[in-house]
């Protein structure tokens, strides 16, 4: 019977044996590879932030009119713009800003999500209805419109974009965490703990927190890519960081005036760098999820 099945099944399925069928040593290596990719991603992002904030920031805003409109070369890896500013330095500085805004916004958003999810899951029916309605309301307005409105309400600029990104990214994570906490509350081990006479604080700290925390952490890290992309988008539309700051959105929006003149490098490289950054965060998030989430260790 098994041989008959494997003959009819698509060959690709048979070609990929389950991880548990492999020798234990290879499984450990898999884990280490995940850990290594996580560490690499974090270190690379840290380097970008440090370089962008402290090493290259002065270069990024320095103008040199003898060097303007240069195509990429060894001297200027990403070329220069119409004011002779080095695009590589501007890109790195922009990325570092994006990462900082993304970190701040994702942290705030995830805390909001955790608080709201706890209220919804533990606060009774009414609280649940209110939170669910809030989630629906926030998801009912297109995200970009909401970002524009909130950034406008906060007077645009750094705080405008950071607050806008921070207070609009919680709905999805809130849904996930709410379901998770509810499942945890109904679980046998929490029921047993209650029957054994533990107080609600003890249950929350010793039994529920370890259950929910991995989901929270993964959700937090997977918020970064969204936060960074929305920061760039809002700045690109003109509601975010001011034009004198080297941000990716500013760089790309300024480049639009020079594209028809054939200066493709103004848009191409900063965008690629942004994609690479977002993918690094994705990599870090999915590695971490596989490392700490028991449900996906077999992937």
């Amino acid at each position: 019977m098994p041989s008959a099945i494997s003959r009819t099944a698509p060959p690709a399925v048979a070609a990929a044996p389950a991880v548990l069928h492999q020798p234990q040593r290879r499984r450990v290596a898999n884990r280490q590879a995940l850990l290594a990719s996580l560490v690499c991603a974090v270190v690379l992002l840290a380097i970008v932030v440090v370089a962008g904030r402290f090493v290259l920031y002065d270069v990024a805003v320095a103008t040199d009119f003898s060097q303007k409109n240069l195509a990429p070369s060894l001297q200027h890896l990403f070329g220069t713009d119409w004011m002779g500013r080095d695009m590589f330095a501007r890109t790195v500085a922009g990325l570092s800003l994006s990462i900082l805004v993304g970190l701040l916004a994702a942290a705030v958003s995830s805390v909001l999500a955790l608080v709201l999810a706890s209220i919804a899951a533990l606060g009774g029916r009414r609280a649940d209805a209110v939170v669910t309605w809030l989630v629906d309301l926030f998801m009912g307005i297109p995200h970009i419109v909401l970002l524009i409105l909130i950034s406008y309400a906060c007077g645009k600029g750094f705080w405008g974009v950071t607050i806008a990104v921070a207070v609009t990214h919680w709905p999805n994570l809130t849904r996930v965490l709410r379901a998770e906490i509810m499942q945890c509350r109904e679980s046998l081990f929490v029921g047993h703990a209650r029957k054994l006479g533990q107080g609600s604080i003890a249950i929350a700290v010793r039994h529920m927190l370890p259950f929910v925390f991995p989901q929270y952490l993964v959700g937090l890290i997977l918020l970064f890519p969204h936060a960074i992309m929305h920061e760039a988008a809002i700045t690109f539309l003109g509601f975010g960081l001011p034009v004198d700051v080297p941000a990716i959105g500013v760089i790309l929006s300024e480049s639009m005036a020079y594209l028809s003149a054939g200066m493709w490098w103004l848009a191409a490289f900063p965008g690629l760098a942004l994609i690479a950054t977002v993918m690094l965060f994705d990599l870090a998030g999915s590695s971490l999820r596989k490392l700490i989430d028991p449900h996906s260790t077999q992937e």
Binding site: A12, I141, H143, I144, I148, L149, P225, L237, M256, L274
Partner: protein, 328 residues
Amino acid sequence: MASFVVRHIIRLMLLLFAVSIVVFFLVSVSPIDPVQANVGQSAYLNMSEEKRAALAQYWGANTPIWERYINWAHDFIHGDMGTSLRYNAPVSQVIAQRATNTLLLMAVAWVVSGLLGFCLGILAALKRGTWVDKVVKTYCFVLAATPAFWIGLVFLIVFAVWLGWFPIGFSVPIGKAAADVTVFDALHHLALPALTLSVVGVANIAMHTREKAIDVLESDYIRFARARGYSPWQALRTHGLRNLALPAITLQFASISEIFGGSVLVEQVFSYPGLGQAAVTAGLGSDVALLVGIAIFSAALVFAGNLIANILYGVVDPRIRAGVGSYA
């Protein structure tokens, strides 16, 4: 049925009411002065005091926000969405003009990205583990990390500047009388923005379809069909396609919010005169009435998409249909 309709109409009303309150609240707390935002710094400094007062009156800067809201809500209930101060025209007229462009753009992107994503997902599932699958997966993964407006910029560079196949922006040729614009002109201008939006929208639907198709391919009924001598594609076509298509369509309806967001960015890149561009102009120019109008329009659009998705869920899976026969 009647209660279903009434319930959803009430929900829509509540949502639109909440959206309008939120928008007015956000605008009222904004520190941005509409007069300064619209006349520019130097003109504002050279302006006489009376002129400033007149402009503040025009932009309603001195009227308390709750009074403006009540005025607005009163008119809105009577079908008047107010006057756009930026475009100097009724909001309903501005929205109607631009909604045609945006809805056309969104509709093309919606259909193309849905079809393309569905086909790619099926293809990847059938060729699971091969290079085809890897290409599709990488494509989706990279695309999920790519901002829509950057793709637009790249297309602009490649197709409009280097190859010169498509115009660089707007929805009609520059300097041509409105009466002379042909359908071909309009489509020619629509192509690049629609392509951008379609390419971006593929990732989600393709990955979803791939996962589902793999589940279906591993199911017992497909195994039975294979045992009867069907090829994987034949088995999937006869027994799997319908199960896969409806969830995909449902997902596509639920993603209208994202497509609208993408269209805002893409319109900005291609200077395409749609709702997104109007929203940006309204926001930068403190045009409250237009901002509220667009927010309400887009919320209603998203609501309609989600509603259709919900109804389709019921069609796909009878167990979700509440109050039907033995499942109730």
